[in-house]
Symmetry: C2
């Protein structure tokens, strides 16, 4: 079924408020989830809302918390997340650090014990909108096997980078796994086999059976290099945030454990060299205009596709699983109309 942005935001916000979230916390958490759906990443969208509500009910998420911030050093804000919403804790710290960036030039936020951030693009886009370069990292449960290995030892360890330009920023947001665990689950739900090389089962054997893969491990992207990057991110986050390593991480995918992963955000003021922002956007335009490998499939810059999808979803609405919508409405005290706010 088709849903409008306004309807999705209204339902998600109301549901979170009904479960104890202050309005501004509910609005931000809803925004992060709905934007993921609009960008075409339902695994990080409203599909996560029922579990979030369940976690609130069980006391694993405290929707009131903003996190306890302390300056660990002149340019480092360390945050105890106190089981708050991931987006609320992260954005509060980023907004506290940001006014200092013109003086410092570079600054770091590290967060422990906050809940799932959703898509990291949200944070680096916000940082880029302030005029800064943004880097975001987060750790997860063990889901990825090492290159040359067979057991899940690494998180999917996403990394996001945004660089402001004179036009749209470059926005990179990728997991260091070959495919998202959400896609494995989707194949399992729809009974489609996996491609060769995507995953191994719980015994470490290669498998194309998504049900067996769910209990096993996903391959890292890009062979040895992607694995190297993933494990470097794993260590970076734990070393900077002092948070758990993948085999000990809980709470981003379950309704049973407090969330103990770590989040890292770096904010940097770009060089003030004259004409630099225009030089960056001209370069990106040259890349987009360079000859494509397939006629009619122009070269893209990271962020282009998500930006286009989001704009289309904002204009035309976006598709959502009907059962999910029913489930969400069932969790709320009153029904939201799916076409609320849709321009026709």
């Amino acid at each position: 079924m088709r849903l409008t942005e306004a309807a999705a935001l209204a339902l998600a916000t109301r549901l979170l408020e009904e479960h104890g979230a202050p309005r501004d916390h509910a609005v931000l958490q809803a925004r992060v989830l709905v934007t993921a759906d609009m960008k075409g990443h339902p695994s990080h969208g409203l599909r996560r809302l029922p579990r979030l509500v369940e976690r609130i009910k069980r006391g694993l998420v405290d929707p009131q918390m903003k996190g306890t911030q302390r300056w660990r050093a002149d340019a480092v804000m360390e945050v105890e997340g106190s089981s708050g919403f991931g987006p609320v804790v992260a954005m509060a710290a980023i907004e506290r650090l940001a006014p200092h960036i013109p003086d410092l030039g570079i600054g770091l936020v590290v967060v422990r014990n906050a809940n799932h951030l959703g898509m990291l693009a949200h944070y680096v886009e916000a940082i880029a909108a302030m005029g800064f370069v943004g880097i975001a990292l987060s750790s997860t449960e063990s889901l990825v096997h090492p290159f040359g290995g067979t057991r899940a030892m690494l998180g999917t360890n996403p990394v996001a980078i945004a660089v402001p330009t004179a036009a749209e920023p470059l926005v990179l947001d990728l997991a260091t796994s070959l495919v998202p665990m959400g896609r494995i689950h989707h194949h399992a739900a729809t009974g489609r086999p996996l491609a060769e090389g995507w995953a191994r089962d719980a015994e470490g054997h290669p498998t194309t059976d998504p049900v067996r893969a769910k209990a096993g491990a996903i391959a890292p992207f890009g062979d040895a290099k992607g694995y190297g990057l993933g494990i470097a991110m794993e260590l970076l986050v734990a070393a900077l945030a002092g948070s758990a390593l993948a085999p000990d991480v809980r709470g981003t995918l379950d309704s049973h454990f407090p969330c103990n992963k770590g989040d890292v955000f770096i904010l940097i003021e770009p060089s003030l060299a004259p004409g630099l922002p225009a030089r960056l956007s001209a370069y990106l335009d040259a890349v987009r205009a360079s000859p494509p490998a397939e006629a009619g499939a122009p070269v893209l810059v990271p962020g282009d596709r998500a930006r286009r999808r989001r704009a289309a979803a904002s204009r035309d609405g976006f598709d959502i699983d009907q059962r999910l919508w029913e489930d969400l409405n069932a969790l709320s005290s009153s029904r939201v109309l799916a076409f609320e706010g849709l321009r026709s």
Copy 2:
């Protein structure tokens, strides 16, 4: 032929001193080149020395320069490299920033107009030895085509990360190209075809002919994700250092132009959480001990192989192309014996 570490360092240092480098500059530049050979990366080793000497003779490298440093912000050291040796300019700035890291928590060095850094691992290893997390980035000439594109628009944009632990640090050092341009040249020199998918020719057509590939473009590693990472690094370096973008970069591979790429180094003090360094090394040991995909081929952590090769080369010497050794000796006023310092 086999060469000792001592002989390699002696010849490279002498050669650089004979061409105007102060002793400490010559020692550092020689160390960076020789270590690359010892780690099994001859493309970044002594093979680069004849061109470096040629660049000195032509005034494109000024071996006296340490770079002009200025604090761009409280935590940012900006350096005009003034055509100095890459390693000399970079390490001088890193060593100036490092004593401030315990107070700042995080700091940034950006360098413009210094010469080729060699392997980035050198810098992050040095930063990790100080007890800090290190990140190093550098830009290069256009050699890599976009995912879905056909023309060289990106540099090979290497990234290095080191994280100190209670044992050896994790040391990642990778280029965001599928293979190094050095390997394409090696295939060309030895007449071996390239693997499918590695490269395109100057017209943008896929090719397995290394001679045609030399004039074309290498594929990014890891398809769309590796491309995304590479172009994010491209923009990051230019945005932070204010340096040239790949299509305008010159001077890391030629003997005709001043070097105008940029270098970025980030130094971060890890969390002081009790027991953290031991937790990090225990995790890496668990990854190494996890079941391998092929019996007898244990899982490696980034840095393991290079560390092992370097130790073996230090003990047993290492192989070098005989003609390169003759060429290097011919450039020097006196001959170095290849077995100088070899323990037997």
